[in-house]
Amino acid sequence: MSESLLDVRHLCVDLVTFKGTTRVLDDVTLAVQRGEMMGVVGETGSGKSILQKAIVARLPKTARVSGQILCQDRDLMELSEDQLRLVRGKEISLLPAGGREALNPLAPVGVQIANAIRAHNSSSKRYAEQRAVDLLRAVAIPDPEARAQAYPHELSSGMAQRVLIAMAIANSPSLILADEPTAGLDVTVQLQVLEIFAALVRDYHSATLIVTRDLGIVAHFCQRVAVMRYGTIYEVAPVREFFGHARHPYSRALLAAAKASRGEEMMANETRRLLSGGRKADVIENRPPARLEMVGEGHFVRVAE
């Protein structure tokens, strides 16, 4: 049974190195519903990024993986590298962290977007490049015809990030994995880029698994949130529930830290807005993932062991 778009079950990742084996993902079970935006929050090293890399099978060589990653009734773990290539970018695309770093410095951005399109259908070069211009327009890049000819270093980091969004969305994937999509951008640009991203994702009916350290982003854009620490999931909850009644002590600590850094008042406003309507998750799962206990509708918390 799996109406979920992405269903990660008992995913474990070990890094086997000279110094021994480190478990970086420990029994992670997580589902993403069609069209929803789900946030994954947690501190540095909690396994958020590894989770995304595991989903697209781009883990380092030293990784040993077990568990299931179900997407559209297939287990991604059982696909060959060739089959995975057809999934990457087409069904699941990754919006990488790092902005400009993730673009080839020696190719015009329009060509790079066109290549992403042509990787998945046999459209002509000219058509793909025309489509790339349309995508650049969709991510609100001014004068997209000219910008398509630009090289990555000629763009601001905000624009480079939008180019990456255009590339991630190019084949209208059903799931986008976004890894800190606004890290390194200044705050005003962050919001702008995220608004563009969220609007596009809505238009394309794509689901998003967005990794971030910024609870503000989660409050603003996501319907559900998962808290990760030490490679496991501590709490999964609809966003309104989470901001109102986070159960796990670590979640509360995160919220408290966010309040301290963003200002009490701002968080209070955010929470009030969420509690009085806001966005609501379309599908609420009521099946507790492994080692998590249901404490409310769609709200799961890790039990003490």
Partner: protein
């Protein structure tokens, strides 16, 4: 195109390099028509004359006019140097990229890469000169075989250079991002890895032109290159070196200058090509 013109205006040295190559080309095409003397005609009565009006660059120990010889030699030397460097570039660069791209990965391709590199180790474990000499000796002395041997011994250098660059470039985030966008492996190798690793290959290519000519001279010296009276810069340098001891510097200096200037021209132009192609330098 407009950028190329802009670049040339900003970098006059490139124009100098282009002029050197242009003059070389004129010598290649018209060389024998421009010389005042027969470059292979000995005149022992005129041996070892210093540079002057009659003989601009003087004469060598057999009385042959060095000026004429330097000019006529351009044809042979550029043929050997450019051809050998081009061959080793076009063989070594793709092999190096593939070795770097597939090396140290899962699967059989990694074995292929390992095998290739160990093969290169074998080639490089012989002293370059001895190896080239043996190759020519086995295949027979001819310009074609000299070019082939010189090209062959230079291939491992390109493979190694490009492999090490490819190994570092392939770990850059944009390679992973390209893969996550679903780009096929061949496109990642061709469009992402190659352009970002080729820089040192181009520079090495220009240096190899000079080196190939020197190597040819060495081969000629031991009788495995071109026969002695043939005008060839490397051969003239090694012959002229004996006269240096007794104070006649001109038989070795002028062909040496010709060789040095030619190598300089190619190095400058190779560097400029690389910079014109690099969009981040604009």
């Amino acid at each position: 195109m407009t950028y190329t013109l802009y670049f040339l205006r900003k970098n006059p040295l490139t124009i100098v390099g282009l002029m050197i190559i242009f003059i070389d080309l004129i010598l290649v095409v018209f060389g024998p028509l421009l010389v005042p003397y027969d470059p292979t005609k000995a005149a022992f009565g005129d041996a070892l004359r210093g540079p002057g009006i009659a003989h601009f660059f003087g004469t060598d120990h057999a009385g042959m006019d060095i000026f004429s010889r330097v000019i006529v030699a351009a044809r042979l030397d550029l043929l050997i140097g450019v051809l050998a460097a081009t061959i080793s570039f076009f063989v070594g660069v793709p092999l190096g990229i593939l070795a770097g791209f597939y090396g140290d990965r899962r699967g059989w391709t990694s074995w292929g890469s390992e095998l290739l590199m160990r093969g290169m180790d074998v080639i490089q474990s012989f002293p370059v000169f001895i190896f080239a000499m043996v190759l020519v000796a086995m295949a027979g002395t001819s310009v074609r075989n000299v070019v082939a041997a010189v090209a062959f011994v230079n291939i491992p250098i390109f493979v190694r250079l490009l492999r090490s660059d490819a190994l570092s470039v392939r770990e850059q985030p944009f390679i992973d991002a390209a893969r996550c966008a679903g780009n096929p492996e061949w496109r990642i190798a061709l469009r992402h890895l190659l352009p970002n690793s080729i820089r040192t290959g181009l520079i090495q290519g220009s240096v190899t032109i000079g080196w190939a000519i020197i190597l040819t001279a060495g081969l000629s010296f031991v009788g495995a290159g071109v026969p002695t009276p043939t005008p060839e810069w490397g051969l003239m340098i090694s012959d002229g070196a004996q006269n240096m001891v007794t104070g006649q510097w001109w038989p070795a200096l002028f062909p040496g200058l010709a060789l040095g200037i030619t190598v300089f021209g190619f190095a400058v132009v190779a560097d400029s090509i690389q910079r014109v192609m690099d969009p981040t330098a604009r």
